[in-house]
């Protein structure tokens, strides 16, 4: 009984840390660029695929993939921002959503065409194999690493955004990008870098997730719906809110899977509906 409960809670924690990483990037992008980045799931999938391809074709190990895959996907993101998203600035955010949705379909279609739908397993790196028996549950080492690493990255992002000068630019730009530019800050460059950073963060989550889940072209679309719900619950554009809500939703799913498994995939949307009814700006959001 407790074995099963802790098992589900821990699984929830893992999912939750991916939700946190993904919704953090979504919140940062939405905050500054006013773009609802539907391609976030595709960028997560591309991160996982980049890691798998690097290992399979080039023999590049997991440790390097953690660094290189986000870099590659981040670069692709920057090109997308420069060449496509930039043209939609000042229009209704719906256009950005449609564009990124279209890009998602293209990316998923390409990977589907090349690799099919069944997907690949990414082997757990040797130094993270095995696990520890904690008495009340068995703790696989890689999963503990995945949670710890994701949370460390989330906290680092939070710290940089809320407590440093670099983050002050982001916070100021989120509030009023035109004014920030009127003070001499190169805001168009900030837009490009921020979108690239958000994409890189999604790809990073993808690499960390690769040994946990199957690497498939559709792995992003299954997670992105929940992540959007997380962002809505936490409040659009709130950094700390995105992290806390991501973890919370993961745990809630885990608990539901223990008590009443059939409800585990809808519980997040029920919560979202309730939050929208009571606090339309989200739990941690401010009215814009």
């Amino acid at each position: 009984m407790t074995q099963a409960l802790f098992g589900q809670l821990f699984l929830g924690l893992i999912n939750g840390s991916f939700y946190a990483l993904l919704s953090l990037g979504l919140a940062v992008i939405f905050g500054l660029l006013d773009v609802v980045n539907f391609a976030h799931g595709a960028q997560y999938m591309m991160g996982a695929f980049a890691a798998w391809m690097a290992l399979t074709y080039l023999g590049i190990p997991y440790g390097w993939a953690l660094l290189l895959a986000p870099l590659a996907v981040g670069l692709v993101g920057m090109v997308v921002e420069r060449t496509l998203l930039r043209r939609l600035q000042g229009l209704d955010p719906l256009y950005g959503l449609l564009l990124t949705f279209g890009l998602t379909l293209i990316a998923e279609g390409l990977f589907h065409h090349a690799y099919g739908n069944s997907g690949f397993a990414y082997p757990v790196p040797g130094w993270l194999r095995g696990g520890v028996n904690l008495g009340f549950m068995f703790l696989p080492l890689y999963r503990a690493w995945a949670v710890g690493l994701s949370l460390a990255v989330c906290l680092a992002c939070w710290f940089v955004i809320e407590r440093t000068k670099l983050g002050a630019y982001l916070r100021a730009g989120t509030e009023n990008p035109r004014l920030l530019q009127a003070f001499g800050v190169n805001v168009p460059l900030m837009f490009t870098l921020t979108y690239g950073f958000g994409a890189a963060l999604a790809a990073f989550a993808g690499v960390v997730a690769a040994p946990v889940y199957q690497v498939t072209p559709l792995m992003g679309s299954s997670v992105i719906m929940v992540v959007f719900a997380v962002v809505v619950i936490g409040g659009m554009g709130s950094i700390g809110g995105a992290i806390v809500t991501g973890l919370g939703v993961g745990l809630l799913e885990g608990l539901t899977r223990f008590w009443y498994p059939p409800a585990s995939s809808v519980v997040v949307f029920v919560v979202m509906a309730l939050v929208l009814l009571v606090r339309p700006a989200g739990l941690f959001g401010r009215e814009r």
Partner: protein, 243 residues
């Protein structure tokens, strides 16, 4: 107080606007603004609400939508430059709504702006000049009073080394004692050779400070009153302003 500012800049033309048209979306707001401001001069834009004074300041920085014509800042044509590059020619902007970032502390607001020219006022000097800001430096921008926000909005552009300051309605809605303090600050800036373009509703505030007053109506500069002519033309000026 010790010398807070660098020596006055050499004389010359700081700003020349010719035939400036500007649009907000589809609406045509400026209809060919012409004006020139010499280095070290203090010039005000006077006019009724909606005459295009604030838009003129914004259009100089490229903050409106489309704009055409010519805006020469410090000898450089800027009409095709992106806003942040114009600012780096040495321009400081204090917007009408003050533009304090509410999620940043007072000090973060103060130090956020990149230096656009060397010789900006050091932070210690700024805190000497505005002691309130020192006391409130850790408060978020949203918690500052209107006066403190205005001090901050002015102080942060002094830090950047900008020599041409565009100040939009800096006395609006402030208590008389704060307006007096701002008057002293603007006087000090003038004495140290800053070039100032002020949009101001409070005529009594700017009358003793300005070298020239430009009259703005329907998106154009339609007249000019030098300080020496002020007394003789006061009546027509008041009629123009509708006071």
């Amino acid at each position: 107080m010790t010398e807070p500012f660098p020596a006055p800049a050499p004389a010359g033309e700081m700003l020349r606007v010719s035939g400036l048209h500007a649009f907000y979306g589809e609406s045509h707001v400026l209809h060919g603004v012409d004006l020139a401001v010499a280095a070290g001069e203090v010039v005000t834009l006077l006019g009724r609400n909606g005459s295009g004074r604030t838009t003129t300041l914004k259009a100089i920085l490229g903050l409106t939508g489309r704009r055409s014509g010519s805006v020469v800042v410090n000898g450089r044509e800027t009409v095709r430059m992106p806003t942040h590059r114009i600012v780096h020619l040495g321009v400081g902007y204090c917007p009408e709504e003050r533009g304090i970032f509410s999620r940043l502390t007072a000090e973060e607001n103060l130090t956020l702006l990149p230096e656009v020219r060397s010789g900006g006022m050091p932070l210690e000097r700024i805190y000497e000049m505005f002691p309130n800001l020192w006391e409130r430096r850790r408060s978020p921008g949203s918690r500052l009073s209107g006066g403190e926000q205005q001090m901050l909005a002015l102080a942060r552009i002094l830090r950047t080394g900008a020599r041409l300051l565009l100040l939009d309605e800096i006395t609006e809605g402030l208590a008389p004692v704060i307006v007096q303090a701002l008057g002293r600050a603007v006087r000090a800036l003038k004495d140290h050779g800053f070039t100032l373009v002020l949009v101001e509703q409070n005529f009594r505030f700017v009358a003793p400070l300005a070298d020239r007053h430009l009259l703005v109506e329907r998106g154009r500069v339609v007249g000019e009153v030098a300080r020496a002519e002020l007394d003789s033309r006061m009546e027509s000026l008041q009629r123009f302003l509708g006071v």
